[in-house]
Structures are given as C-alpha cells and as structure tokens.
Amino acid sequence: MIAELGHFALALALVLALAQTVLPLVGAERRDARLMAAAGPLAVGQTVAIAAAFACLTWLYVANDTSVLNVVQNSHSAKPMLYKVTGVWGNHEGSLLLWVLILALCGAAVAGFGRDLPSALKARVLGVLGLVSVGFVAFTLKTSNPFERIWPPPLDGQGLNPVLQDIGLAIHPPLLYVGYVGYAVTFAFAVAALIEGRVDAAWGRWVRPWSLAAWSFLTLGIALGSWWAYYELGWGGYWFWDPVENASLLPWLVGTALLHSAIVVEKREALKTWTVLLAIIAFGMSLLGTFLVRSGVLNSVHSFANDPERGMFILALLMFYLGGAFALFAWRAQTMVPTGIFAPVSREGSLVLNNLLLCSITAVVFVGTLWPMFADALMGEKISVGPPFFNAATFPLAVPLVLAMAAGPLMPWKRAALFPVMQRLWFAGVAMLAVLMVGYALSGHRVLPALGFAFAAWVVLAAAADIGDRVALFRTPLRNSWNRARGLPRAAWGAAIGHAGIGIVAAGIAGMGLAQERLAALSPGESIQMAGYEWRLDGVRDFTGPNFTARKATISVLRDGQVIDVMEPSRRWFPIARQNTTEAAIHTNLMYDLYAVIGEEDGSGKAVIRVHYNLLAPWLWIGAGIMAIGGALSLSDRRVRVSAPARRAAAGTVPA
C-alpha cells in the first residue's frame, strides 16, 4: 500500500513537473501574468509530491518491507537503523529519487526567494527547471522504479554493500547532489537568459549565489568522498584520479570558473556569453558524471550496478538538455553584447586568466577521463590513463593559477598596474621564497612538496594581505582598522577565506607528498620503527559487531619508550554480503595522522601491518571545510540578502 502510494506520488510529480514546464514558458512568451504566476505553486506542489514519494520509500526501508524489490536488494533487518535510513539513497533507484527531490526543493527555493525576480525571467527559470525534472522523474519511473514489488517476498533482504555502511558515505551523496542540482538552477538561468536574449547585472546577481551555494556543497561533497576513501579503503591515499572521482571534479572545476566569471557579469556586465556557456557546461558536467556513474560505461569502485538500457535513457537526457541548450546558445548568443570593457591587467583580466586556467585543467581531466573509453570503443585500443598523467598534466596549470589567485583580488576593476599589487604582496613573496628554501632543506631536497608549501604560504598570506589592504592595516590606527574590518562586505571576507582554504589544501597535498609508510609482518610483541615512532603489535583478536565479525589488531605507538596511543585497526567480514572491509585506525593531532591498517594473517600468528605517517593529512579536509565556509560567508553577503528583501514573508510558502 505504501509502495503504491509512493509510486502514485511520483507519477503525480511527473504531471506537475510537465505543467510547471509548459504553463510558465507559454505564459512568458505570451506575457500572460496568470500563466506565469502558476510556476511557483506548481514547483511547490511538485516538491510536496516528490517528498511524499521519498517519505514512502524511507518508510519501506525502516519497516524492512521485503515485498519491495529495492528494499530486498539493498537492506537487511540486521542493519543498524541509521544505515537503514541512509540506505534509501545508497543505491541507484533511491539516489535518483533523492536527486529529483533536491531538484524540486531548489525549484521551490527559486519560487520562494525569487519574489523580486522579473516575472518573465522567474517563469522561464522555473519552466526550465520543470523540464529538467520531467526528464529525471520520467527516467526514474520508466527504468528505475524504486517501488517495484517482488513476489513471493523473501524472508529478509540481501544487505547493503558493507563498504557503504559508513556515516561519511551516508552524507556524501546528498552533499554532492545538492552541488550537482545547484548547477541545474544556474543552467535554468542560462537557458532562460538565452530565450530572453538578455543578460545583465541583475541576472549575474541571481546566478552568483546559486553557483556559490552549489560550489560550496560540491566542495564539501568531494572532500567528504576523499576523506571516506582515505579512512575506509585503507590505501592511505586521498585522491586516486578514479574516473568517478574525476566525474565529480569536472563540475567543480567548471563551477569554480563560473563562480568567478559570474562576478564579472554582476559587477561589470562583461563576459556574458562566456558565463552563460559556463553555466550550461557546469550542469552538462554534472549530467555527464551521472551518465558515467550509472550507465556502466566505466568500471570503478564507486559506481552503481547498472545496465546499458539505463545508460541510453540518461544519454538521451544528456543530449536533450545539453544539445538543446547548446543549440539555443549557437542561435541566440549573438545578441549578447558586452558593455563593460577592460584592460588585460585588471580585476576582470585576472578573472579571465582564472577561467582560462581552470578550463584548461578541466579539459585535461576531461580528456584523461574519457579518452581511454573512446579509444577502447573506437579503435579497440586499451589505454589506461593513471595518476602519473593527471599529476604531470595538471600541475603546470595549477602553478600559474595559484600564483595569479593571490594577485587578482588586489587589482582594481577596469585597469590595474602590476607594480602596486607587487608592493602589497612583497612580504607574501618573501615568505614564499623562505618557505621554499626551508621546505627544500627540511624535506630532504624534495622539490614538489617544498613548492607546495611555498604556494600554500603565498596564497594564505596574499588572502591576509587582501583583507589587510581593505582595512588599511598599519596605515591607520588599529581601532580604525577594526571598524573597517567589521564594515567589510562579507563577500570580501568570503573570497579571502575561500582562497586561504585553497592554500591550506595545498599545504595538505604537499605534506602528503612527504608521507611515509611501512609494511611488515609482525608476531605479537614485535615492533617496527617508522617516522621516529615505535609501532608495536600487541595482539590480534576477534570482535563482533551488529552485522559483521572482525579481526581487530592492537598496535601501541611509542615515542621514546612512552606509549602515546593505542591504535585498533580492524578487518571486518560481512557474512550477509560476503564481503570484507578495512577499517583503518587513525590517530590525528591536526598536524599529522598516524594511520594503521591490518592486512592478512598467516597461520603462524604473524599479521601484516601497514603503518603510515601522513604529514598534514587533516589539512586537506580542514582546507576544504574552510573553502566551504568562505562560500557560505560570501553567500550571506548583504547584496545577496538585499536582492531577496521579501524573504521573511516568503518563508511560509517554502516547504522544508
């Protein structure tokens, strides 16, 4: 009964989404205010319907209803309640439902917050969002119905993939989807602008917060995924250039470019065509990621079980949205004339450089990810493009990006000179060189890590210089600076903090370049030395969890004969899924991680232990968090809030 209710709610959502597409778009064309006004309520109605479907599916999981195929395939009564709930989106069908739910929520948010949006633009944006929704709800109903029944019902489910039974992975997809879907909103704005043939500063003011929000969530989602790979896969690494990882990185790279070019549209009404194109590509990359992960064209540890038939449907959707938008772009972008002109050396110029470099990195990652597939399919050639290629190809592009991102915020609009910028950055430059030399000496003459630390110092100090310059630090009394700092727009703080976050991540990457690891087979009581620590295996014992059994090692870490930590890495066995997982033990003090993994045991009582000393590893995720905080701060800027003055009044119409 609940399953049928959910199915019906989803079908209802499809009808509402269709209406949300047709009525406002026709209304905007005919300038019919009543048809345009239908967009908001329809968006809210569609959200309610999809939320109901999602609630139904959650209920089926919580109740462990084994007459529903999706529950049988992905759940089990022995699973902890938390993972029963998160299991709802831990599979293809449920995650798709979450995807359309977030899309609908974004539509409702546009309807709710967009009170002072020009009515035709608002109607068109909601219409395009409705069209995106139609495609994905239809896809869910046609090929991936999560409410399908099974007869006769089995006694119990087949369990969730144990690797996915993890809190980090439970919140990773929702964050990522908010990011992806956020780009659906900027895409809708871009398409609406193309239909209207007009892009102006007001458009930029609306696109920027959405791209900022999407970017912040995507940053968190990617960081969480990387953190999960770090502690759960037990390889000690944080980024593997896996195609699925790349699929989430591509929209992030384009989205970062969009974030910066949208500023130029908002402030200077230049780069309009380019920004519209980026908005389309950002969503295109999100869809491409969806296609790659769910169609089965690539194999990866992360991808869902899938079949080519679904792939065909997603490809059709991808081509419809992307091809349609590009065709519209080719047809209409002619009409967009830039009004702001600027010199090559200027704030705009530095943002163009940022865009060029980010897009080059995107192109490298894009080609590196897709080329092996195409070469295989076209020429039957098996090529593998691994981390060496990506590292070698992206590093030279990242260097100028990092150098320029420090100088850009210090430049004035329209026309700038390099000399005054250099004057304000000299101490960051000196610090960069000092860190480079010290890093080179201390790291045992390793160039790349030393460069990484130097760039980190450069970016963080340049962000500080930016704020220091704006508050006239040391040029006026401190009290005066303090008052200025309080009056500084939050977007300025957000940009500086976001940039500093990149610096922290760079330091983390450089630190990980100096990580040490050792592998040894030890009997209980034996120990090894690494990174100035003594790692002693005290013993290995059995351990039983709610739905797994495990072998847990106890490793004492000693420094100068003193036990500083006892680590307990384990290897879990999930009998229902017939699968092993590795649980790394991590001891962190925010400067470095001590990381231990237990491997196989031989019959004679020896166990293989792998231990890592990961310098600055926590900074990778702290830095990503700081970037997201910068994004959030910028999002709370006055000019974003001012553009939605009726928010308090509108709050009642937005269902949470």
């Binding site: 065509t273 169609s295 080519p308 991808l318 081509m319 080719a330 493009v385 691994g386």
Partner: protein, 188 residues
C-alpha cells in the same frame, strides 16, 4: 573577430556535444550486443610491440641502462618490472622476482621516480633480481607503457610483443596461476 568566425565559434559547443554523444551512443549499443565490454580491461598494450624507449642507468648500480632494442636482443620472454624503493608492495613481490631470476627468467627492472642511491640501497638490502636495470626518473616511459602505479609488470615475448600486464605486486598466487603458464607458453 569577424561575425562569421564568431558564429562558427558559437556552434562549437554543439558540435563537441554531438560528437561526444555519438561516441557514447556507439559505446552503449556495442555494450548491448556484447561487442564492447568496459570491464574486460586486459590493459594498455597487450598484443602490441613495446613502445620505443631508451633509459639511462641507475648511478651506482654498475649496470648500463637499456632500450627496447636491448630487450629484443635477449631473444626470449622478458619480464619488465616497474618498481621503486619507496613502494611498499614492491617489497612484497621482491622474493618472487628473486626466485624467477634464480630460475633463469630474464627480469628487466625500471626504477620509477626513484633516487639512484635509494634504488641501489634497495637492491643491496633485498638482492638484485634484474638482468637489465634502468631508471625512469621523469616517468615519461611509464606513461608510454600506461603504467598505473608501481609495482607493475609486463611480459614481453621474443618478438618484442607485450603479452601480459599485471598492476600490483606479483604474489605467489599470481605467479602460480597467471605468470608460470604464460612463461611456459612463450618460452618455446
């Protein structure tokens, strides 16, 4: 920019998307008919000749570097092993390489992104299974070979054709189940 050039440029994204879509369509169609299987990834250059390379020696190892011509001159199956002193699984597979070397199998080692002194120290500590030894410090040759990471091992037959690739340490199981039968097949 002339209006025509601008117009052409505006059509470029559509063109790229159309080509990409066509390729993906072909891929999915072939997957349905079974002509294309993304999961059967035997790898890089199986059945193809060794890519051209000429690598310098590891300083201090007192062995010359080698090139693909040197591999061909050996006239028999050769295992080409990419390794590094900093690579943990390389230690795991080292005893197997030593055993193969003692049995008279030619193993050629390429030290990947390693410092000479470290490479030499590694071989001194654990023994040297390599008949040929060279270094690939910049990692360019590894890219040509499609190396995913170290250790990675390739079997090259007497005609200089790559017959097998294994990414990861050669454990006893890999040796017994995969490598031994192949060595027997290509030995004659």
């Amino acid at each position: 920019m002339t209006p025509l050039a601008r117009r052409t440029l505006l059509f470029a994204p559509l063109g790229v998307a159309a080509v990409g879509g066509g390729l993906f369509f072909g891929m999915l169609r072939d997957m349905q008919t079974g002509e294309y299987n993304p999961r059967g990834v035997p790898s890089a250059l199986i059945g193809r000749p060794v890519p051209d390379f000429a690598l310098p020696p590891v300083e201090g190892a007192e062995m010359p570097g080698f090139s693909q011509a040197d591999l061909a001159r050996l006239g028999g199956p050769v295992l080409v092993n990419f390794w590094a002193s900093w690579c943990v699984p390389c230690i795991v597979e080292h005893p197997q390489l030593m055993r193969l070397s003692r049995e008279g199998i030619t193993v050629a080692g390429i030290a990947y992104k390693d410092r000479d002194a470290d490479s030499v120290g590694f071989l001194r500590r654990h023994g040297n299974p390599f008949r040929l030894l060279a270094k690939d410090q910049p990692g360019r040759t590894a890219i040509d070979w499609g190396v995913y990471g170290v250790p990675e091992t390739y079997l090259v037959d007497r005609q200089g054709i790559i017959r097998w690739r294994f990414a990861g340490p050669i454990t006893d199981e890999v040796l017994a189940q995969d490598l031994r039968p192949l060595l027997r097949r290509y030995a004659s």
